[in-house]
Assembly symmetry: C2
Homo-oligomer: 166 residues x 2
Amino acid sequence: MGAGDFESRWLRPDVNAVWTRFLQVTHRLEHHIDRRLQVNHGITHTQYEILVRLADGEEQAMRMSDLADSIVTAKSAVTYQVNKLSEMGLVERHKCDRDNRGTWVKLTPAGLERLEQAAPCILSLVRELFLDDLNCDQSAELDKLLGTWSDNLDEHDRNPVHRPDH
Amino acid sequence: MGAGDFESRWLRPDVNAVWTRFLQVTHRLEHHIDRRLQVNHGITHTQYEILVRLADGEEQAMRMSDLADSIVTAKSAVTYQVNKLSEMGLVERHKCDRDNRGTWVKLTPAGLERLEQAAPCILSLVRELFLDDLNCDQSAELDKLLGTWSDNLDEHDRNPVHRPDH
DNA sequence: CGAGGCTGGTTCAATTTCGAACAATCCTAG
DNA sequence: CTAGGATTGTTCGAAATTGAACCAGCCTCG
């Protein structure tokens, strides 16, 4: 490693280790779930996520944009996936009453059924890999961490684009 | 929500909330970093990661497979990105002495320079968004969490593919 | 009103990722 | 020594994601 001042140019070694481990773990988690979901239930993790959010929404429906926000992905990706799910018959588009440009995406009975088939599989996976229901301490700690991360991101999104370097 | 037994079919509500928040936060984090890196330094987050791992490796070089493992991505994706980086002149392929099928990927001076340009930007981002150097409690807690997650994943990978449902 | 700006969704080309198939090399047991 | 199995890296086609461009409907302020 070139120059060795850890003050500002580099992360403190332990923090750096935590960061890279974080990246690895999150990727492995996603991978694992995605694979399981595709092999056992024929849907992607993102598709599964869409079904979940729809099931949570009132009327088992949701706007495209809200969906995109809650999945944290580009709007175009949502259109793509909703088209796919629609072709599979798991989801239906409806016109939105109060806003003529909006479209409601609604879970079909088949969609709900598919979700209920898949859910136990990945929920048990979440329990085994991520967070066992029983361990409340970790849950609380993690919740706090997620809170600060979320706040940090909100703040960054609120502020205009930084351009401090280069 | 359809049937209401939280015992085994569904996650406990708070755990569920933590899980979805975790997914959202990780995606937002990746997005944020990726965007910043592309706008300010013309490289993807994965490309940046590759440069980082190479810089860490001895001789500033690494095998393709190890690279794929440490980035947690498909081997083919690594070949693709290494080709890109090679075209950019940030990286070079060399034959591996001890293993004729292996290839070493080595950081070029230009690659190191590019990395050193980009690093401060995203490291400060990591500090601001993810983990400030100063907060040791959180760091320790997070480290513990990452450890258990990592172990869980190892165990799951070690065991043959489960097929508990359907 | 009604012109400008904002928001919701889709389309499109480009990029990236993935997994399966493959060839080449290594390694180990017999 | 060698045959069979594992590992390494690439290629290939298919799928997914992205951002920008775009249209349409909303909204507000003059």
